[in-house]
């Protein structure tokens, strides 16, 4: 194993911790993005607790790596990661969506650790591409990571950004596709089928790595490989399970943005323990 067992376990635990934070924050009887948060949790844990250079004390530190949540509807997951990483108090998480509070329903510039506002799907990759381009123009080593939803690939702008990023040889840019196969109100294959995803990104000039998005060793290996790839951006196609870790939510369309009953809430936290 290239990565120590302890580290792998610690990162897996982080993924579970972020899921629990999300559930606690969403609470009972109020709609929240359970499914997509759980599918992305291991990827986000690997980035914030291992791969990315960040400084919670100085969120705008010049040497930092950048993370953009293009699938901005799972903001709560990023907030959980930022809070657990020390950017702001974990106790603030339940106040998400309070009027005027710094934790808005979608990532909002001004929140410590948030690099840009996202949520109108399809725009995060372009924003990340611009950051990567500017950093490259200045010869800086910072890397840019953008988490893209597979449903989000319906948006044409994703493919504009895909073309543009490879044309500009942005090897400091890494897109991570959370391929859970579901979107807000149905299965992707029943709407605008996105397969073959890996072939599409390859055809657009990207280095493509396919992984199990819940296998921590595969995630870490892919992130390192992406960093080593020169001359083109990397797309990590992470095969995931929407609602991962919560038996009754796994792979269920209904848990995209749904309120939990008290029983579901308790069971979810029990399973994620």
């Amino acid at each position: 194993m290239a990565y120590g067992e302890e580290m792998i376990k610690a990162l897996k635990d982080r993924g579970q911790q972020l899921r629990r934070d999300c559930i606690r924050c969403i609470g009972v009887g109020v709609a929240g993005h359970v499914g997509g948060s759980c599918s992305s949790a291991d990827l986000v844990a690997a980035l914030y607790f291992h791969k990315m250079k960040v400084d919670p004390e100085n969120p705008e530190w010049e040497g930092r790596d950048y993370f953009l949540l293009s699938k901005g509807h799972v903001a709560i997951l990023q907030y959980a990661a930022l809070a657990e990483r020390g950017f702001f108090p974990v106790d603030d998480l339940p106040h998400c969506k309070d009027i005027g509070f710094y934790l808005q329903g979608h990532p909002h510039l001004g929140t410590p650790g948030i690099e840009a506002g996202t949520g109108s799907l399809g725009q995060g990759l372009s924003l990340g591409s611009g950051m990567a381009l500017g950093l490259k123009m200045d010869g800086k080593p910072n890397r840019v990571y953008v988490l893209v939803g597979d449903g989000e690939m319906d948006e044409g702008q994703i493919w504009e950004a895909a073309m543009s990023s490879s044309a500009k040889k942005l090897d400091n840019l890494c897109a991570i596709i959370d391929n859970n196969g579901l979107q807000a109100q149905g299965r992707i294959e029943d709407r605008l089928p996105s397969e073959p995803i890996a072939d599409k990104w390859r055809a657009f000039g990207w280095n493509v790595i396919e992984i199990d998005g819940h296998n921590m060793e595969e995630i870490l290996t892919a992130l390192d490989e992406a960093e080593g790839c020169k001359g083109r951006p990397t797309a990590i196609v992470a095969h995931t399970v929407k609602g991962k870790g919560i038996s009754f939510a796994e792979n269920q369309v209904g848990f995209h943005n749904r309120a939990l009953t008290k029983e579901e809430y308790d069971k979810a936290l029990e399973e994620l323990a």
Partner: protein, 312 residues
């Protein structure tokens, strides 16, 4: 000699600014030879400061948002219909909500691209740029003012939209004057009717005032800053006359007329609009023909001033 084409003023000013400030970059969507953003790349040493983004305006605007977050000052140019229209959501979501330091140039604006017809004529861009919170909207009267505004945009933080005319005409504002956002500028004093105008219609407002000399005393007010717009200044001007007229190369809905009427909403001042009456443009063989077809001539302003003057 001063430049008389707003597009050239845009390109030349950016070239000067790029020499001084290494952070300024210019993005174009395959129209840099028309917006004149491309003037930057012909200078040795500045080639990489012009970034060709291809025919993908949405991606251009969001990319500019990203560039601004790592310290660049991006100017994005394309035709106004594509900048403000096609990339509306990117301007709103990627740029304006976060107050990112992105500068957008809507070029060949209004009906100044007379030959290409309705698809290329922005009769509506001021309205839908003006309604976006945090976004400033500037409409220069001429090339001199364009240069002044571009300098201001480069120097000051925040998202801004600049509306640029395609065609050359003589300057009416002085070269080298400083641009002050928010303030309407009185170009000619008068006591009967004030004409608030922007873009080429400011030229026509001056002509109308001259045509009415001896009959109606017309105050001509240039409004390069549609937003922000100092409400008190507008009210003070309105109170100095009997009534007001607005004149713009844009729909009468939501543009300069709307901004002035909103500013005067608690005043007892009649306001008449000279603008495009809720319709699209058309192809034409020259600029004057399309301006006449859409009701944007000196005579239209004269008629509106007379109407207001006769009311009082």
């Amino acid at each position: 000699m001063a430049e008389t084409n707003q597009r050239n003023a845009y390109g030349k000013t950016l070239l000067e600014l790029c020499r001084e400030n290494k952070d300024i970059v210019v993005l174009d969507a395959d129209l840099g030879g028309s917006t004149m953003g491309k003037m930057v790349e012909v200078e040795p040493g500045l080639e990489d400061r012009h970034i060709e983004m291809g025919i993908a305006e949405a991606n251009m605007i969001s990319t500019a948002g990203g560039l601004s977050r790592v310290g660049k000052i991006p100017f994005c140019s394309t035709f106004a219909v594509f900048a403000a229209g096609r990339a509306y959501d990117q301007i709103r979501q990627s740029v304006a909500i976060g107050k990112l330091n992105v500068k957008i140039c809507g070029s060949s604006a209004g009906c100044s691209d007379f030959g290409d017809g309705a698809t290329h004529q922005s009769v509506d861009d001021i309205a839908y740029m003006r309604v976006i919170p945090n976004l400033s909207v500037f409409v220069p009267a001429d090339a001199n003012e364009t240069a002044a505004i571009v300098k201001y945009m480069a120097k000051h933080e925040g998202p801004m939209y600049l509306r640029v005319n395609r065609n050359p005409y003589d300057n009416i504002t002085p070269e080298g004057a400083e641009f002050v956002p928010g303030e309407p500028v009185v170009l000619k004093e008068g006591t009967d009717v004030a004409v608030f105008a922007c873009g080429i219609m400011t030229v026509k407002a001056l002509e109308a005032a001259k045509a009415l000399e001896g009959r109606i005393s017309v105050k001509v007010v240039n409004v390069p800053s549609i937003k922000p717009l100092n409400r008190e200044s507008v009210i003070a001007i309105a109170k100095s006359v009997k009534g007001c007229v607005t004149a713009e190369e844009h729909s009468v809905i939501g543009g300069l007329g709307g901004a002035i009427a909103e500013a005067l909403r608690l005043e007892r001042t009649p306001v008449e609009f000279v603008g495009i009456e809720d319709r699209f443009g058309s192809s034409a063989h020259n600029y004057d023909d399309i301006l006449n077809y859409l009701g944007l001539t000196t005579d239209h302003i004269v008629e509106a001033v007379e109407k207001i003057n006769n009311m009082m």
